[in-house]
Structure formats: C-alpha cells, structure tokens
C-alpha cells in the first residue's frame, strides 16, 4: 500500500468509528454510554501520549497532572465561561504548564525523565490540596451547573476524534518525522538539523493540551471533584499501560487497547476487582514479552509464528521425556570416541 492508500484507509476507519460512536447514545443504555465515555477518554489520552512519548521514547507519567489541571480549570471557570471555552481554557492551561515543566525536565532521558514527571505530578497534586485546605478552606469542588449527559459524551467523542486525527496528521508532517528521529537517536537527529528542544516542547505541550481538554470535559461527570480524584496517578499509569499494550508508536494501537481495556474494566471491575488488575498486569507482561510493538502489530503471521514456536517447543519436550534426546547424545559421544 502506498502512502495515499494508507491515508484513505485510516480516514475511512476513523470515519466509520466516529459513526458508531455518534450513534451509541441513541440505542445504548446508560451503562453503555458511560462505558463508551471511559473508552473515549482513554483513546484520547493514550493516543496523544503515544504521539509524543511513544515516538520520542520519553516516558512521561505526567498525564494525570494535565488531566487534573484541566478538571480544576473547568470546576473554577465553568459558571463564568461557556462549555466550549472552558474546555479550550483547560487545554491551554495544561499546555502552558507542560511548557514550563518540559523546559525543566526535557533535557533528561529515560528513568530520570519518568521519575521527574511523576514527582512533578505529585507536587502539583499536593500543592492543590494544600491550597484547598489552607487558603480556601475546602476539600473539593462541587459542580453545580452540569451539562447534559449527551453533551459530555459528544464532547469527549469529538476530542477523541480530534486526537486521532491530529496523530494521523502529525505523523505525515516534518514534526512527526522529527519526533521519530528523536526517538531513534536524538543526537543524530540534531546533527541532521532538527531543533530538538523546540520539537520536544511542542510535542509535550500537544500531549498536555489533549489531556487538559479531556480532564475539563470529564470533570463534570463526577459533579464533585477533589485533588485525589482528578490528580489520581492511576489515570496516568493506565494511559501509559494502554499505549504500551496497544503499541505506542502506532496510530491505531492505543485505540485498540483502550477498547480492550474498557471492556475488561467494566466487565471485571464490578464482579472481581482483583481479577481486573491481575489481568491488566498479565496482559502487559505478555505484550512486553511476545508483542513488543503492541497489539497493533498483531497479524495473521504472528499467530502462525507462535503456533510453530509452540509446536517446536512441544516436540523438543517430547523428545526429552521419551529419552530420545539422551540416546542421541550418547550416540554422538560414542561416535566421537571411536
């Protein structure tokens, strides 16, 4: 397939998925809509995470910080501003924080970067908690003016579609190429003319803007928010897990994994919460070991390779158990002696 065909295919897939997403509130139950909402939220979060962190291999754990910033922006401003303006503001504030944060930590790589982004998330969370307690004397915020269920759903759907579209578009631009180059060999990319500092800042801010917008849109779903709900590090971890399991460098990987996750989460969490967490962990281990490029790299051939591997393994074990291997070894030894 050439470039143009791939673009057409991706656009068609996105278009049809959007259609399904749009129709859900009209035939689905409340439960299904709520599940769809979580799913869309993680599609937006992990797609945008994969766009920057997956391509550049800068593992950021700060998603929950930007999500929380968006949520708080919404809680504080929703009554003054309109719905759309609030979401745009959430994205803007999160992106601004990301620029400051990125300027401080984006020259670090690997573990240091991951740990520092996590540290900053905790710092922001505790700063907000402290501010609530000692300055305003509150624990959380109650959102009194809340939009309709369908408005929230359509907004998050819109954000998810925009994110996937953005991801598609960026991958075709020089910015996307620069991000991939930074992930492959940052110094080499720099000597070939990539202004790595700005590219990284821009990419990081883009990821943060999506997380901020999603946070702003999702905050109204809870009607009551406090720092521990919206800055919950679990949101950040789950985003990273989804992106990694789906294939952080791919376009559709995070989306596929987000759907799998939401289905798993909703079916298992209520009946058996431990089983849910365990299956999450198991899925991650299996993906890292056998599908390093994520669920999106799964092809028909992958199954065949696995099947052949298992068959070969089984044959070897059988040879061992029947004593055939020992006999062969002994024979080889005898022949050498002769």
């Amino acid at each position: 397939m050439n470039d143009r065909q791939i673009l057409t295919r991706d656009l068609l897939v996105l278009f049809s998925l959007t259609g399904w997403g749009l129709s859900l509130p009209y035939f689905g139950s409340d439960f299904m809509v709520s599940m769809g909402l979580t799913c869309l939220m993680y599609i937006a979060l992990s797609s945008s995470w994969g766009l920057f962190c997956g391509n550049t291999r800068y593992l950021s754990l700060a998603t929950s910080a930007f999500f929380g910033i968006g949520a708080y922006t919404c809680a504080l401003q929703l009554e003054q501003l309109g719905w759309a303006a609030t979401i745009a503001l959430g994205a803007g504030v999160a992106a601004a924080v990301a620029v400051v944060m990125g300027a401080a930590v984006l020259h670090l790589r690997g573990t240091y970067f991951a740990v520092l982004t996590f540290g900053m998330t905790e710092l922001i969370r505790h700063a907000v908690t402290y501010y609530e307690k000692s300055v305003t004397g509150t624990v959380g915020r109650v959102l009194t003016v809340v939009p309709e269920r369908d408005t929230i759903y359509l907004t998050v759907l819109c954000l998810a579609v925009i994110t996937v579209g953005l991801s598609m578009w960026v991958r075709r631009t020089r910015l996307g190429l620069a991000l991939v180059g930074i992930g492959a060999d940052e110094q080499r990319a720099q000597t070939l003319g990539v202004d790595t500092r700005w590219v990284k800042l821009l990419g990081f801010a883009m990821t943060a803007a999506v997380a901020g917008a999603v946070g702003a849109a999702m905050s109204v779903r809870w009607t009551y928010i406090d720092p521990h709900t919206v800055f919950n590090p679990f949101i950040g971890f789950q985003t990273v897990l989804i992106a990694l399991i789906g294939g952080a460098m791919t376009l559709w990987g995070p989306l596929i994994a987000a759907v799998v996750f939401s289905l798993l989460a909703e079916t298992l969490r209520l009946q058996a919460p431990q089983v849910y967490m365990m299956s999450l962990g198991l899925l991650l281990i299996l993906c890292v070991l056998y599908l390093p490029a994520g669920l999106a790299s799964l092809r028909w051939d992958t199954w065949k390779i696995w099947r052949d591997d298992i068959r070969a393994w089984w044959k070897e074990r059988r040879r061992e158990w029947t004593g055939e291997k020992e006999r062969d070894k002994r024979r080889a030894r005898e022949q050498r002696l002769v």
Partner: protein, 270 residues
C-alpha cells in the same frame, strides 16, 4: 590570538571553519588542550593521533555536540561558539559518527530523506559561506545522494539490515543530505577491508573534487590517511603537535615520538 600557520596553499582560499584555542575539559581531564586549526575552502585535511589523543572530542567541540570549555569557533568569519548542532548543520557543517548512527528502523532512502527535510531543506544555495553557488547536482535529491555513495541498489532495505560497511557509506550519505559545505568524517575507514578502504578514499576525494566540499577526515591508522590528504594535523594528548603536508609531518621527530610503540610510524612512510 595568533593565526594558525599554513605550510601549503600557494593560493589562499577563504577560511571556512576555524577553531581558536579550543579546550575541552571533563572534570580534571583535559581532553583537548588549546587546539587551533583553520580549514580553507576545498581543502582535504586529515587529523591523526594515537588512541585517546582527543581527535573525536575535538570533532565534537567543532560540530556543537560538546560545548568547548574555552576557545572560539568561527565559521566564515562568524562566531558560532556554543551553537547547537542543528544550527551548525543549517549553516552547512555536517559530520559522521565513529560508529555509524543510522536510523535502523527506517529504510536507507528514508535515512537520506531525513536530512534533506531538515538541515538540507532550504539550502538550495550556499549563501552563508560567502560564495553564492548552487548546490551540486549530485545532492539535488535522495536518489542522487544514494547514487553518489553507491547505495542506490539498497534504497528500499531497512538501514539496520545492511552490512556495517554499507552503514558507513549511509552515514556519509546522511551527512551529505544536509547539503553541507564542510564535512567532518570520524574514522570512516575503521574496520573496512583493503578494497573497501580504497573505495572509501576514492569517494572522499570525489566529494572534494567534484562537489567542492571541505573535508576534514580523522583516522587512527596513519597509513591510510597520509596517502590521500594534502595536509595533516597531528593531535597528541589533547595538543596539536604538527600541522602540514604529510611528507613533512611523518618525519617530524615529535610525531614519531608520539607514535612510538604504536605500530604505525614505520608503516606510515610512503
């Protein structure tokens, strides 16, 4: 500050790149100690020195990869000390790395296109370097560059799958894709077979002769280098101990002293 001496070049061409008393210090260790060197347009200069002489560190310092502790870096009369590699690349300074650092998950062609899309993008002309000349035909597009380095038959392969010596050629191709005026080559002949070394030297001469590039070529093995360059700079323990035509330099007692114990000194004689 004294001008570096040049024993050659009857017709003085403009100095494109000049290092003035460049010093690089890592903690207490002085890796490069006040090295000055000027590279004129169209020159083919070799830098030699025993292991640990500071050759690569000097390269890093003049290509922006490491910031020098002291000293200045001038490009065509402009002070570019402390400029980041991407800025130097945009100005027309390209380099290769000692171990090929190709983007192994991309195709050979995509590796070349990368540089063309960034540093090489707007460089249709070499305006900055003073002489407004069009970029050579050979560097017009990725196909041309691949043909120049002899990898046109492997354009579609994954860069990680080609042989190490082909990766070296690709590394040079990537440097050329920034459409440079000055090319810094870091041990491009290391680990190649005799025949491949001859090919490599021929390619480097062509880059200078046909594309009019200024080439600075580091090599650990003296023997290969002195045969092909017009001027040699010798580094030893971070200092510059000689600078001149190869025939003169390899008879320099201080150079022989530096290479004593290194198998090169006798072999180096033509």
């Amino acid at each position: 500050m004294s001008e570096p001496k040049h024993h050659h070049a009857p017709v003085a061409k403009p100095v494109l790149l000049e290092a003035r008393e460049v010093t690089v210090r890592f903690g207490g260790l002085v890796a490069v100690d006040a090295v000055s060197a000027a590279f004129r347009a169209g020159e083919l200069v070799g830098i030699i020195g025993p292991n640990g002489a500071g050759k690569t560190t000097f390269f890093n310092a003049i290509s922006g990869v490491t910031e020098p502790t002291h000293g200045r870096l001038m490009a065509a009369g402009r002070d570019l000390t402390g400029a980041k590699p991407h800025r130097l690349a945009a100005r027309g300074l390209a380099r290769t790395f000692q171990t090929p650092r190709v983007f192994s998950d991309m195709s050979v062609l995509a590796n070349i296109e990368f540089g063309l899309k960034f540093a090489g993008r707007r460089r249709r002309k070499w305006i900055f370097w003073g002489d407004e000349v069009g970029v050579p035909w050979a560097l017009r597009d990725a196909a041309g560059i691949l043909k120049l380095v002899g990898l046109d038959a492997h354009a579609g392969l994954r860069a990680g799958d080609i042989t190490p010596s082909q990766q070296r050629l690709l590394e040079i191709g990537m440097a050329l894709s920034t459409r440079p005026k000055v090319l810094l080559l870091d041990e491009v002949a290391a680990g190649l077979t005799e025949a491949e070394v001859v090919e490599m030297a021929r390619l480097i001469r062509r880059l200078r002769d046909e594309l009019d590039l200024t080439v600075v070529w580091i090599e650990h093995a003296v023997k290969i280098l002195v045969r092909h360059v017009e001027r040699v700079i010798v580094l030893h323990q971070g200092r510059k101990i000689a600078d001149g035509p190869p025939q003169v330099v390899i008879r320099d007692p201080e150079v022989i002293e530096a290479y004593l114990g290194d198998e090169m000194s006798e072999e180096a004689r033509p």
